[in-house]
Symmetry: C2
Subunit: 199 residues, 2 copies
C-alpha cells in the first residue's frame, strides 16, 4: 500500500461501479485526486445532493428529486397511456429517444423463476390499480425481447384482461441502421413476417 488507506478505500469503492474494474478505478482515483477542485469536490457535493434529494416516485417508480416525479407531474403528457418498463434505465432510454409522450410504470425487474423473482417482487399490483383508472386507455409493454421480458409481458397482459385497456408491445424487426448480415435468424424471420407496405 503506497498511497495511504484513504486512497485505497476510494479505489475500492470506485471499482464497484459498473464499467470500472480495479485498474480503471485506480486511474479514476488518481484523476480525482489530481483534479481536487475541478472534479473531486464537485463530485462529492453532487453525491451528497443526490443522496439528500433523490427518491423513488410513488406513482411510477422513477428516480427523481421530485415526488411524484417530473414525468408524472408533467401536464403535457398523455394521461391515457402507461409505458411499462422493467428498470429505470429503460425509462431513461425511452426519454432520451423521446420515443413516447406518456407516463411510465417501472416494474423493478422481470419475472425470473430461476432467480427467484416472482410477481410479488415486482410492482405489478400497483400497475393493475393504475390501469383501472378510467382515464387510462392503453398500456404499452416496453420490455426486453428476452425470455424473461416476454414471460413478464404475457403475465401482465393476462392480469390486465379486465382493466378495459388496450395492451400493446414493442414492434420487433430490424434495428434502424442495422445490417441484415449481422442480425440473428429470429429477428430476420420476425422482420419478414411483420413486413410493412412501402406504398
Amino acid at each position: 500500500m503506497s498511497a495511504g488507506p484513504e486512497i485505497e478505500r476510494l479505489i475500492q469503492l470506485l471499482s464497484k461501479l459498473p464499467g470500472l474494474g480495479p485498474r480503471s478505478a485506480r486511474r479514476a482515483a488518481l484523476h480525482l485526486v489530481k483534479k481536487r477542485d475541478l472534479l473531486m469536490a464537485p463530485l462529492a457535493a453532487a453525491l451528497q445532493a443526490a443522496m439528500d434529494t433523490i427518491t423513488v416516485c410513488r406513482v411510477c417508480g422513477n428516480l427523481d428529486s421530485k415526488n411524484p416525479c417530473t414525468v408524472c407531474s408533467d401536464p403535457r403528457r398523455d394521461p391515457g397511456i402507461i409505458v411499462v418498463v422493467a428498470d429505470v434505465a429503460d425509462l431513461w432510454a425511452l426519454e432520451r429517444a423521446k420515443a413516447v409522450n406518456a407516463r411510465y410504470h417501472v416494474l423493478g425487474g422481470t419475472l425470473s423463476p430461476l432467480d427467484g423473482v416472482g410477481p410479488d417482487d415486482l410492482a405489478i399490483a400497483p400497475l393493475v390499480t393504475r390501469a383501472h383508472d378510467p382515464a387510462v386507455t392503453e398500456v404499452i409493454l416496453a420490455l426486453n425481447a428476452t425470455v424473461d421480458g416476454q414471460t413478464t409481458a404475457h403475465y401482465v397482459t393476462d392480469l390486465l384482461g379486465d382493466a378495459g385497456v388496450k395492451v400493446t408491445g414493442l414492434a420487433h424487426g430490424v434495428p434502424v441502421g442495422g445490417e441484415l448480415d449481422y442480425l440473428d435468424e429470429g429477428t430476420l424471420t420476425t422482420a419478414i413476417r411483420s413486413r410493412t407496405s412501402m406504398g
Copy 2:
C-alpha cells in the same frame, strides 16, 4: 431531462472520470442511487476523506495522507536508490509489482516540446538536489520507452553528470509472457541485441 438536475449533475461529473463515457456514467449513477447505503454514502464519505487528507509528498511528489509519504518515511527502504518516474500512476505500478525496495521521485510528466512542457515544468531541479545527497548512490530512470520518455531520460542523465551517482535505465526486451509474433520490430531487435547468457 427525466430524472431531475441532481442526477444529471452526477452523471455529468462521473462522465469526466477516465474510463467512463456518457452512457456508462449514466449506468454508474443509476447504480449509485439504487445502492444508496451500500455504495453512494460510503463513496461520498471516501471522497471527502481523501480531499481532507491527501497531499503531495514534499520529498518525492507521491500522493498520500502522510507527508512525507509512506514510502519516503519507511525506514526499510534502501536510502541509496532513487527511482525516477513520470507520474504517480507509474509509482503505484512499480509498488504493486514490488519491483524495487527504494524511494521514488515523481517528475510530474515528461519533456514534450510539442506540448510546451519544458524542464521548468517538471520536478527536475529537486531531483538533482536529492541526487547530491551523499547517501544516494544510484538513480534509476523508470520512464516510458517513448520518444518523450527517453528524451527526458537523456536530459536528466546529463544533469546528473556531476552528482556522483550511477544513473541507470529500465531494460528493454520481450515482456514476460509476451509472444514474439505480436511484438514490434524495435522490441525484437533490442531483445536480440541485449540477449543474455542462459548458462
